[in-house]
Symmetry: C2
Subunit: 116 residues, 2 copies
DNA sequence: CTGAATCCGATTGGATACTG
DNA sequence: CAGTATCCAATCGGATTCAG
């Protein structure tokens, strides 16, 4: 791939390369509603589906499922299913998720201090 | 709230109020396409409308205007109009914009290293 | 040159009902 | 409990055209 390829040409930090500009994708992902908040709540520790639902007032089951699937697909969250009488599914941050949460934490901190 | 574990307890729960958590809004804002890239390109220094257009292949004038207006409205970018035969409009980062760009830079860096 | 105005298809998030 | 399946209104980003 050449540097003139428009799909990656605007990547700020890396000239060529296939996946050199993933940060844009991460921002788009985090920009989707609930994603950052889910990440945040999971930083307290493992949580079940229902617990997340309770902590995210207003989220619909469909959207919560979508978000969790996305988080798992990106390797930020693990999904552990426990087959039992009442089924249990536990979600927890991966190391990668913890790292990303750290960066988000800085944004939170900055946002607080930069409030008008 | 008693900061039993984290120091950002007030943010994640978004009640029906206006905007209780600025970081969420910032992420949503940055998640919109082009915004982060515009911020990034402006970190090189002041740029004119056309120069930004050239550096953002595929962006439409409408979207570029929208994005720039948003960036200005949020105090991240300044807009300086020069009345001349060919009108000139210069866009540049504010201190706030520089600060936010720094945080984004960390995401870029993390994204690079976590791709492998 | 720097936009504003319109139109449009695609995507999004949400409400609701239903299932293993 | 932990989702899936539909349906839907709103929003988004892009293309195009026009204007100061």
């Amino acid at each position: 791939m050449t540097t003139s390829d428009s799909s990656f040409a605007q990547c700020p930090t890396r000239p060529p390369g296939p996946e050199s500009c993933g940060a844009e994708d991460w921002l788009a992902f985090l920009g989707h509603r609930w994603n950052a908040m889910i990440l945040w709540h999971l930083s307290e520790g493992s949580l079940r589906y229902g617990a997340l639902q309770d902590r995210l007032p207003g989220i619909s089951p469909k959207v919560l499922s979508e978000r969790l699937a996305g988080l798992v697909a990106r390797g930020l969250v693990t999904r552990q299913e426990v087959r039992a009488a009442p089924p249990e599914v536990h979600y927890a941050l991966t190391q990668k998720g913890i790292e990303l949460r750290e960066i988000i934490a800085q944004l939170y901190e900055w946002a607080e201090n930069s409030e008008a």
